[in-house]
Homo-oligomer: 384 residues x 4
């Protein structure tokens, strides 16, 4: 009798953080994979991650639309509520033996709530890390709703236990996103034309030469600053005049403001060297990152995967506040001139090597093995 | 400019656990009370707690219906989702400076989520305690979503800080339910006829003589055992043949099973000495408890308020597992004969005095003072 | 390739109105039955119609909980909204070739909306009839959302066409509930003990002697009168002092008021001859009706099935205003003395014969044949 | 005591169809205006109609986010369900004496359902018209849920009565959108720079010379054809090479496909003469239309307001099938060459005069007068 493991993928980045585990679960003799795709992973305007998931050979068992339009604080809250309603119906039907929820987004919390109330064991990936934004609250709340914790780092392991979780329920597996980074390091060839494959808007340029990547999301707890924060980064990139791939932001509150600013800039101050892209497959993205000169913004990918890849990163503002980082990261604030300065510093560095801070590239297999053998229970008691 | 404090009351017991604070907030010169009543507190079949709230002089600003019928695990999950949707709309309109969420129920979690996503500071009452059931997960998840923690006991204080909360955001206030217990101890006169005022079903008896109180709720994580667990307690009470007030259960998963069992018993094995009641005002209930010989079941009131009142309690099963308890409590399992034995033991005890485990009776005022002066913020970082 | 016909059953009476068609669809060589059970048909307190459906040999493909608790106008509205959300997810997955929606309740409307927006042809059973209450609005709104109309009477047929529907999409099939009545007429033996099989509360009596049946639901458009209306009927029945089966009301707004009144009456004015029952299988209910002396209240069953059975009925108030009725019905208003008078009149009648107003007992087969062959489309144009 | 009239505006075009009535209600001595803005009227990507509403001097009493992202059939269904849930909460609080719902969109149906179940009289604007798409079903379903009908044309009046509505509840008022057209005809000066005021994307051109307007929405019942239908029109416009304002589509199922096609075209086949705009105030839009050479697509504005303005219109496909039209309209199918031919024909016409088919420009005042004096009831009976 195989254990049925239901994985709920709710967003573009969530897929990267579970992909290698999906393969490992699928091919494990004692596990059966159930796959739910929901949230922004289904939406065209966020790059339809579901298409990449299908291309990778997975067949979603259910698609759940629950994003309430608006990209405001209020719509995030309502999207969470609707996700709980819809996911609980679905999980009740699927009857998995355990549900995996990933990281720290509102859909993550919805998954944990739905499964908890249905008495299904909750397995959390990426607990115990520290950042800014609402993510910080959500991540630890999910830890408290979860029964098994698969963490990425030693520090995360210690924190989860310090919060009162039973040490026997906490495992260091590393982050599955690093597994993709390892694949990419081993086979770094950029075997696709990013302009042709991913379209996007803006001029094209020669990817054999130097280029930058920008990925900057809103910070929900300071969403009203999103426009100004975006302008500062835009101004820095424009001034540097280096070819740049700029990724549209995720659907958090403040996102509409960022997108508007980007569109306005594009239309009226267009700088011939920026190409705007919605999304790429996790692997293609890391190949693009590996060949880039520097990654700028506030995405965790700059801190996690790029520390493994050894790519310089300029991390702007509070979103990643407190997250463990390697030698590849320089932190800066939302000011065009300091951003420029930080990027210039990074472009000249020669001391950045691959670090194994978030794993060694074997997370997927470790996760599948744990899932196949760990004790699954739904009762727990604070050990404090 | 007064601080607007929004209190969300979702259930019968929540009201007792905040009532004295409501008075203190309402009369505080620097605070303005906003009151939302929702969940089972609105429903006739759970005793319409909203009527008692109005009788006490409070005027709810909003009533929110979000309970999905069924009293199953699935309907609890959906009720949580619908509560998030509805509460977020309401909070967005009310624009409070902070939101108070009480204890550890699914509606509590919904309140915390709605407020968190709207960037409204969340104040949690009764964090840091330990119990069984899904409540244990929910309570600590709410702690991680909350910005200010108003706890009842020293141990709870220590636990909340151990979980990584900033000590400057944690306050020991005692439980406001104890404030009512103090009022009742000072004025113990049973100045109402419980049969006349609260109707209910079943024969009446003389409340000047000995009587018992039973209050037994489902345990969500073992909801399928609810019927059998109820039968054991019913059998014990029948066998003891002492007049008994029996309170209908709360709306958690398993509740329909308990109610059905009670109705069946009543119809076909009716024991002339059990009177079934839905609900009482917090004060009347404690007066009834104070005059009783013993309180039986798995309600926290037996452990919290009754330790202050010095009333013997027989606590059955896992629901209160791990909760700090005083000298008044004897624990037992779901077995009729051990329940009988435990009750008999309690009826003979003479060593039970009032204990101040959950507060000294001044929680309401302390809470109002803290609310008026504490720093309100929405950003926090795990201190671990 | 069989046509997949999805039937959504939302309430106790809906089942009786489709049961024979379910059998006919299931056994038809060109049809495949998909069955969704939702709403009050799932709820213990409304008699768990789903249990009867299973006993009859059907296996529901999905169960949808969407009833928001409260039994108020507001909770009916919300239940409708939640039903649309949940049903649309389910229908999207099931991908039926057509969806059957029954009669005129809010869940009926939700089914029609969900299917319409998903471009699935909607087939409506029981359109074109006229009554009071909100049902009157809902029924005709469902007609306008529906693509195929399977009506019970010639008048209903004419009305649906007069409303602008294409005559080629309207069929007179009679009501499937009459098919059960025909079975019962042919085999009238009361082969069960109603007290033993259906429990209920209140004294038992000899069903071989005379007894009455009362079935009185709230009228949503005058829901605030429910208590008083109930009292008048209670008073009439008490005064007549004839053994009576009294059925609890459906979950419309006003229902909680009726139930409260019934419970209060039972507890404090208990009349030894009333037995309160929640629900019976459609067949058992009609057997009970066939052996009864008179059916009282405002249920459509008194007008539809009982005209076929030839059972005297006293119809009280506006709920059935405008519905075609046979010789078996006397109408009266909400006044105890006129109700008593009407019942007495009915008890003395000898002129009531079986009438085929709502069908001849072959509706199920006719429906299946139409479903197998009719043109299924989703585009329509008002023919006016 | 003023009558409280609640108007629910859910979309960009709904505002134009009620604007003059809002002014008339607001200034009527016996009426009080309550204004709810919801749906796409709140969303940036659909042009934030709420901003225009505020600029016109109205203060919304509530904003309701209920659009589930995806622009699919399923998301339309879910958006309807969520709208019912949210609107019913809001209407319960506002307690209007009547609710106005406009035209034939899913949000329109949600408004009618919420109000009906709350026993609030429903007033429908624009009933009795005939078109294609799901709108045709929805419009007539709303008629059956409504208590008062304010129609635009004599034919619509007759149709509503033929459907069984009481003639005393049906009034011909003309369409309030014509009131704006009348203002514009009287003061046709284009007193704004459309490029400067409404930004948009694409090249600018001289609006004193000839230009076209395109407004083409998805047809929900043939949504899978949206891309191809869009391509045909794009191809026709490109080939004609006349400067063109192209408006982005509404949020119906198929909309994402249209937008994607437009963006792709813009990026890769960009024609220097197309300027893409999201939205304009109703008045500015009609001024733009009045100065245009022809309006192309499938919007009702081309048929309603433009017949009053005397502007040639090319109506493509089935969306407006059956709608009464004037001399200004030529119908064509989704084929580039016939579209080109039709536009050329229209550009040469000299026989188009203002027609009063949808009203004479005084609808707002007539509506306010009716609202102030008509009998408001919630009980109705089919008159057939």
């Amino acid at each position: 009798m195989k254990r049925k493991i239901c994985v709920v993928i709710t967003a573009r980045p969530s897929y990267a953080r579970i992909r290698s585990a999906l393969y490992a679960i699928q091919s494990h003799p004692n596990l059966e994979l159930q796959l739910i795709i929901s949230g922004s992973a289904l939406l065209t305007k966020f790059g339809s991650a579901i298409d990449f998931i299908r291309e990778d050979g997975f067949s979603p068992d259910a698609e759940i639309y629950h994003m309430v339009d608006g990209e405001t604080l209020l719509s995030s809250a309502k999207s969470t509520g609707l996700a709980v309603i819809e996911l609980s119906s679905e999980l009740e039907k699927m009857k998995p033996d355990a549900v995996i929820t990933i990281a720290d987004r509102f859909e993550t919390l919805a998954t944990a709530i739905a499964a908890s109330y249905l008495n299904i064991p909750v397995i959390h990936i990426q607990g115990g890390e520290v950042t800014g934004s609402i993510d910080e609250k959500v991540r630890h709340a999910v830890t408290k709703l979860s029964d098994i914790h698969l963490v990425s780092t030693q520090k995360a392991y210690e924190r989860v236990i310090s919060m009162g979780e039973n040490p026997s329920s906490v495992y260091i597996t590393g982050c599955p996103s690093i597994d993709i980074a390892k694949e990419v390091l081993e086979n770094p060839d950029m075997d696709f034309d990013p302009f042709d494959k991913y379209k996007g808007v803006g001029n094209t340029f020669d990817v054999a030469s130097d280029y930058l990547i920008v990925m900057q999301h809103p910070i929900t707890t300071e969403h009203y600053l999103s426009n100004e924060q975006t302008l500062q980064t835009l101004s820095a990139i424009k001034s540097l005049n280096i070819p740049t791939f700029w990724f549209w932001p995720n659907p958090d509150a403040g996102s509409a403001g960022i997108s508007k600013e980007l569109r306005r800039f594009r239309e009226y101050e267009g700088h011939s060297n920026i190409h705007f892209v919605i999304n790429m497959t996790p692997k293609d993205f890391l190949k693009l990152a590996l060949s880039s000169s520097c990654i700028i913004g506030n995405s965790s990918v700059a801190i996690r995967e790029c520390s493994f890849l050894g790519i310089p990163a300029v991390n702007i503002g509070n979103r990643q506040f407190g997250r463990e980082r390697g030698n590849n990261v320089i932190d800066t604030n939302h000011d065009a001139s300091t951003i420029i300065q930080s990027i210039k510093t990074q472009l000249n560095r020669t001391d950045i090597a691959s670090e194994h801070l978030y794993g060694d590239g074997y997370a997927g297999e470790k996760i599948a093995d744990i899932l196949a053998t760990c004790e699954l229970r739904i009762q727990k008691t604070l050990l404090l």
